[in-house]
Point group: C2
DNA sequence: AAATAATTTTAGACAAATCTAAAAAATATT
DNA sequence: AATATTTTTTAGATTTGTCTAAAATTATTT
């Protein structure tokens, strides 16, 4: 089965939201994809008729087996291209997401499997996210959000949410890379800000929102 | 200016036909793009309104300065990706055209210029076609169609029309590659067939249609 | 549990890209 | 030059993906 670019974007969006909550609802997908709720409903019908979705009117939806398989293919393509853009073309962290977003829709399996091999079968993309292998298996991840990291506990950055160039820009500013050591020194309930120590830099403050989008290995 | 995938395909098609005849007509573009004449007319209006086209109703059309510039960008992307697919991923001649056809629509200039550099600024794609540089300049070509090659004259394959996997398959069968020595021994008016000597192989017959789509260096 | 608020779906419209069939214009033929 | 043929354009319909506004449903609050 081949899917349109639009269909693929919805599938990917649903997959992403499923990681947070079992069932996904219309509005959250609408806000993720920056589209109207009505458009979501329209597409849900289509994806349901294509048997990718478990969907009950007014009661949320989720990808079925087949839908998840398809999502993992798209994610594999996206992350392999991100890896390519950084490791072979030397592009900056902030720029790769949008380009990979376009490249991911080229769906030749042979192309992607050969690219994978050419890149040396990487298991993590430049943001630290796991890359599904050609059978759709994700390497195991043991990571937690920085905001959930125990105080004073030494950890290392495992990945960062790859959705926004603006976040990338800020992380560069903090000197945060995959593997960078980090420790949470103090947590402020007022706004969720954290005082953190990044590598050997002086202590710094980081916002709650940023902390939510940064992940560390959980040993 | 950004163009839709569809617009880009029309631009590319017009550019290709312009190489044969000054002005392009509706039906020939329709047959190249395998679409209806009505669709061509619709798109001509659009491209004209976007100022890429010199178009007079009922009297053919051609790309203007701006249109040619755009066409060269698309061709550059296509050919660089073809080069990548063969030289880095080791894909077969026959398969690369269709994949490059999809990749070419990803239009980030930085991506393409970096890809170019990564590939070592190649000047010819795997079919032997010249790759425009980042300023849209095509390396000079001095090639003629095999069907126009003088009898008994030693030549080398410079390029082959890249439109069809079926042609690629047949050329592989003949042992024809870029750079392969070739000589026309005899020409048959009956159907335009040629008796040729390819490299050190025994003499072989090749159809007129194939000969039209094979090019050699014209010294 | 009734009223209010929030969420989701439907109805109907629109733009892009395509199509078929008919009309218009250009070209070729007798 | 009049007629026939070919080519091109127009008119109107269709599909995909989107939208807004209104209606339906579910959730929350008093």
């Amino acid at each position: 089965m081949k899917f349109s670019e639009s269909e693929e974007n919805y599938i990917k969006g649903i997959y992403a939201l499923q990681q947070k909550s079992k069932r996904v609802n219309t509005n959250s997908l609408a806000s993720l994809l920056e589209t109207s709720a009505a458009s979501i409903t329209d597409m849900l019908k289509k994806l349901k008729s294509k048997k990718l979705l478990d969907y009950k009117k007014y009661h949320g939806f989720r990808l079925n087996e087949e839908g998840n398989r398809e999502a993992l293919k798209i994610i594999r393509r996206h992350r392999l291209w991100e890896y390519f853009l950084v490791s072979k073309l030397g592009m900056d962290w902030e720029k790769i997401h949008d380009i990979a977003e376009e490249l991911e829709h080229v769906s030749s399996k042979e192309l992607i499997d050969r690219l994978d091999q050419f890149l040396g079968n990487p298991t993590r993309d430049p943001h630290g996210d796991p890359i599904p292998n050609e059978f759709g298996i994700m390497p195991e991840v043991n990571q937690i959000s920085l905001k959930d990291l125990q105080l004073k506990r030494s950890a290392r950055i495992s990945s960062v949410s790859d959705q926004s160039p603006e976040l990338m820009e800020m992380l560069n500013n903090y000197g945060i890379r995959i593997g960078t050591p980090i420790k949470v020194l103090q947590s402020f309930d007022f706004d969720g800000s954290l005082k953190v120590k990044i590598a050997r830099q002086p202590d710094q403050m980081i916002s709650g929102l940023a902390a939510e989008n940064i992940f560390v290995y959980d040993y």
